[in-house]
């Protein structure tokens, strides 16, 4: 670890901190239906959409019809994307002449992009036509992100309002999230990326002559436009197979910086927007503080573990000064790889600039654990916020009784119904992750897909289901996931992780919205101070993380301890 490394990490968090407030206030206006500085330009476009679709933007929906609209929209998105991939061979903009994507892979990929997971069981440059990348995957990058933001806005309204049955209008939230937030920011980031050297072309490839005089064909395409929304929408699905480790996706240190900044900014600002909308900015900051403590601890552990290097390699004569450089880009080094790894997994982004599977046991444990905590640090755009709010409600319920009152969060009483939905939601991750991992670990043909024997192979399976169920999309590497078993089960894991989680959460929002918002008094459990932040962190770790401890002990933990003991498998 170096001072300059820490300064780089600190500088990034500082820049994010600076944009949180203005961006958060802007988004609060967007979801509050207020005028913004972009309204003169985008307002007519927005109204045009409503007219064309026959939507009355003032008609609000209850939780059920909001959720059904979201599900219908996601199913339609899945069908459109699946069809695009299957028909790729006869669709335009296919200069390399790629054939149709096989059905199980198309299923996996379509689910993956619709659920904002962006797990990729394919290599983009050798599988996807430009049309599939642009009209299929990039479109879903926008829409799945907007869906998350819409759901978060609906949940926020449930806590902001008193005694109402409606949570907003899904279609309006979708249009406003896309038009006013994602699109303008994506245009700016895409142009900046082009300026930094990312390709934005319809040409298939460029041929380069290497130093040895050999000819090398390097794939090209509309990379910049997809990269921008990949990060802003915490999607993470790269244009190329190696994702942000590819020089055309992530050419420079500054591009790397912009990558991380882009993925963090909307998610973090969404939390601030929540505080603004419920009338307590302090509450927004309190949630952000809990997220920041866990996320920065994650960065620190990865950085420390990787900088320590691998004693087994050191014993073989490898210079330990640079730490464990396996699977890392020399241009990014330890600090920026550690930062990227923690942020991409704390965030449900899933883009990578280094190979998590090549990290030390402990370094690889952190990304996995951050996903298992429920993708709330600060999580996917929108989805992180409602996930965090479920934890906040659980914290308030468990500890809130200790002040001698029925637990309340932002004036809403937390009772049996809310607890039921919260438990249904938090049940999903352990069920899906541990269930599929246990089954795969017992099935010989599933185990055959792993790339390494011993605990590391187990980690590959565990990471795959963790990433899928958490809608993260990053891979540990090593696992050959493009099989019918993994394509199907990972697809199911992604669906459950997104929709089986969000339906009870929305039902809870419906129940909360109907409750009267009681005023706070000296007897009310304070949820915006450091004590609550500490409590929230504890609850996230104990209720969200502890159940994965046995699985982690059998994977990355034992791997790390064995490495320290010089044992290999």
């Amino acid at each position: 670890m170096t001072l300059i490394g820490w300064l780089q990490i600190g500088l990034l968090f500082l820049t994010v901190l600076i944009v949180i407030k203005p961006l958060g206030l802007y988004m609060a206006k967007v979801f509050g239906g207020e005028r913004t500085f972009l309204s003169p330009v985008l307002g007519p476009v927005e109204r045009g959409f409503y007219r064309a679709a026959g939507i009355d933007p003032d008609r609000e929906q209850g939780w059920l019809s909001y959720t059904l609209a979201m599900l219908t929209f996601s199913v339609a998105g899945f069908v459109a994307l699946y069809a695009t991939l299957r028909l790729q061979g006869i669709l335009p903009f296919n200069p390399q002449g790629f054939a149709a994507v096989p059905s199980d892979l198309a299923f996996n990929t379509a689910v993956s992009f619709v659920t904002n997971t962006n797990w990729q069981n394919y290599a983009g440059e050798t599988t996807m036509s430009h049309f599939s990348q642009m009209a299929g995957l990039t479109v879903q990058n926008f829409l799945s992100a907007a869906t998350g933001m819409a759901l978060a806005a609906a949940f926020t309204r449930a806590l902001a309002r008193s005694k109402v049955s409606t949570l907003g209008n899904f279609w309006v939230d979708m249009v406003r999230a896309t038009l006013f937030v994602l699109l303008p920011m994506a245009i700016v980031v895409a142009l900046a990326s082009v300026a930094m050297g990312l390709p934005q072309t319809l040409a298939p490839s460029v041929t380069a002559t290497t130093l040895e005089g050999a000819q090398q064909v390097i794939s090209l395409g509309p990379v910049a436009s997809q990269e921008a929304i990949k990060q802003l929408g915490t999607n993470g699905g790269g244009f190329f197979n190696v994702n942000a480790a590819h020089p055309f996706e992530n050419p420079t240190a500054f591009a790397n910086y912009l990558n991380i900044f882009a993925m963090l900014s909307i998610s973090a600002a969404m939390v601030y927007a929540f505080g603004q909308m419920v009338g307590s900015r302090r509450q927004g900051w309190a949630l952000l503080a809990a997220m920041a403590v866990l996320l920065i601890s994650g960065v620190a552990v990865v950085y420390w573990a990787e900088a320590q290097g691998n004693p087994i390699l050191t014993a073989l004569g490898v210079d330990p000064a640079l730490g464990n450089m396996e699977g890392k880009e020399v241009r990014f080094g330890q600090a920026m790889t550690a930062l990227y790894a923690a942020v991409t997994t704390g965030l449900s982004d899933g883009g990578v600039n280094g190979m998590h599977g090549s990290f030390t046991g402990l370094g690889g444990l952190v990304p996995m654990f951050l996903i298992q905590l429920g993708e709330v640090l600060p999580g996917g755009v929108g989805s992180g916020l409602y996930g965090m709010l479920v934890f906040a409600l659980l914290s308030v319920f468990v500890a809130g009784l200790m002040v001698g009152r029925t637990p309340e969060f932002l004036g809403k009483k937390i009772e049996g119904r809310e607890m039921k939905y919260a438990m249904l939601a938090v049940l999903i991750l352990p069920l899906v992750i541990l269930g599929f991992t246990a089954v795969s670990a017992m099935l010989p043909f599933a185990v055959a897909s792993i790339g390494t024997s011993g605990p590391h192979g187990f980690s590959e399976i565990l990471y795959a289901y963790t990433s899928a169920a958490g809608n993260n999309g990053s891979a540990f590497g090593g696992l050959s996931g493009n099989t019918v078993w993994y394509n199907t089960t990972l697809g199911i894991a992604m669906l459950l992780g997104r929709f089986a989680y969000v339906v009870p959460v929305m039902a809870m929002a419906g129940s909360l919205a109907r409750k009267v918002k009681s005023p706070a008094s000296a007897g009310t459990f304070p949820t915006d101070g450091p004590l609550f932040v500490g409590l929230l962190i504890g609850i996230i770790l104990i209720l969200g993380g502890l159940q994965f401890f046995p699985a982690l002990a059998l994977g990355p933990i034992v791997e790390h301890l064995a490495m320290l003991a010089g044992q290999t498998f």
Binding site: S162, F397, V398, A399, G400, L401, M402, V403, G404, R405, T406, G411, I414, E415, G416, E418, M419, K420, A422, M423, V426, L427, P430, L431, L434, G435, T437, A438, V439, A441, M442, V447, P455, F458, V516, K517, S518, P519, S521, A522, G523, T524, F525, P526, L531, L535, G538, L543, L546, Q547, P550, A551, A553, L554, I557, V558, L561, A562, L564, A565
Partner: protein
Amino acid sequence: MSKDHKAPSLSDPAILLPAAKNAVRKLDPRQLLRNPVIFVTEVGAALVSLIFLRDLATGSSETVFSGQIAAWLWFTVLFATFAEAVAEGRGRAQAESLKRTKSELVARRLIAGGGTETIPATSLKVGDIVVVAAGELIPGDGEVIEGVASVNESAITGESAPVIRESGGDRSAVTGGTQVLSDEIRVKITVAPGSSFVDRMIALIEGAQRQKTPNEIALSILLSGLTLIFLFVCVAIWGLAGYSGTVLSVTVLSALLVTLIPTTIGGLLSAIGIAGMDRLVRFNVIATSGRAVEAAGDVDTLLLDKTGTITFGNRMASDFLAAPGVTQAELAKAALTASLSDETPEGRSIVALAMGEFGIAMPESRFDAVIEFTAETRLSGVDQGERRLRKGAVDAVLGFAGIGEQQAPEEFRRAVDAIARSGGTPLAVADGPRLLGVIHLKDVVKPGIKERFAELRAMGIRTVMVTGDNPVTAAAIASEAGVDDFLAQATPEDKLAYIRREQQGGRLIAMCGDGTNDAPALAQADVGVAMQTGTQAAREAANMVDLDSSPTKLIEIVGIGKQLLMTRGSLTTFSIANDVAKYFAIIPALFVATYPALDALNLMRLSSPQSAILSAVIFNALIIVALIPLALKGVAYRPSGAAALLRRNLLVYGVGGLILPFAGIKVIDIAVSALHLV
């Protein structure tokens, strides 16, 4: 909670022995199904018992280990049922004596053609009229429709002084099981047998028909959810371990499951609820449901009657202000004479003030005429020779003296204004046409009440004083007593409207009352406490009845409600925090044979894998017993703000819950290996 009378000691064998018997009876799985956490524990215990029997039959080397695990899992279940049995047992003796009284009750029912028939009290119907004579027990709850009697209500209130019950008015309600001491009354039965006051009391004390309260249900859902998650984790571990070729036995998986699921709070949850109700009973308050007790903890606003709660019941004379040309002694003496035959508390306080502080000697007390106070004349007094002494409302006395309102001396008018502004009542005194001055009658605020209200404010509870006084008077007393708000010239409708308005704003309201006209407000309030001396209507509308009929009881009731919720929250936090240490005890033990490197996770350096697992299971069982006293007594409660309470309880039960099991499991492990148990 200094008034903790009648609390039986926890180590009393009269409670422990039957509780132990009941604990075994409660092992019936059909009963345990109500409590999913303990039910799962019992299933685990049964499974491991089967394994033990198999090991015993095959002579396996695991026999000693699985036998001990099975035994401790059974102990875990038993300790949980024991906790509930002890909690129930504490109220049982009281319930038994009530039941005995009830079963012996007979009624003399009035029959159509006159005369009475004697029937068992249990066959009474609502609307029946019964005759109860001196020495007899009243057969059921009802209302006196004829006669007046003194009644001994000690069977329910514990108070031996008899009370008067008479037809009409606010003292007409009688309770079944109480004894008429004198005279004869006719009682109209208003409550069907089986739902009478005594029945409710028995049910409450026994906890038999105890319904889960809303918060208890929510907490049960959380605990069941956690149980489900850990059940799933333990099944999954079997598969996960299979990858590395480790085969985990049902014994260790059951042990892991039982230690991870929240058995501590799961085992103590119902005991906490029963003990909370019991605490209320010991405060001589009967609640109709546990829901009301919980609501008491949530109360935001207390509606308190001024009279009796904030001030002593009556106004007292505090000063004599003489009119111009009259000495204070002369006024005091006149006031004293005018009050000698006035038996009202106000009159007596004038006598006391004049003879005490002002040292006036006892005057001649033979009068030519005594004029009683009436609502029309609004004055009273005496005629004595030439003197015609009157005291009363200022305008009435001025009218009597024939002085126009504006003709009264400036000094007198100022004195009257000053008294009214300060919240007092001015009583003018005149001798015929001669105005002597004014007596300052004043509400005296109870000592210490201001501090109580400050405490409540720190807890986030607003106090609202309800009074029939005019707004000026009310404001003065309100500021002296330190209440947050007041409701002046309050009619029952005003009270109801105030409650509705507060509830609209999301606040929970508590109030107490005794009259029939309080009934709608009592029913509307989230916590309505009726006085035992109140009318049947008030007692029916309220969700609590205070047997001591003390209006300040409301403040204690709020404390009991809060303590109940706090105890639940603290033990839940403790139970969940315990899991960290248990993981560190059991996980390395499960896998250290496959991966020796995992011994690094054995932070407690437990002596062997089997000892680690057994120690964790033993700790998990013993902690339930260790916490029974806390569950029954409730966590320490001091009125303070939420932030301070949270900080304290989070430190004690959260951080304590993280650390304690590390030490506890280590100590048990030392004992287990010293005794060579595995």
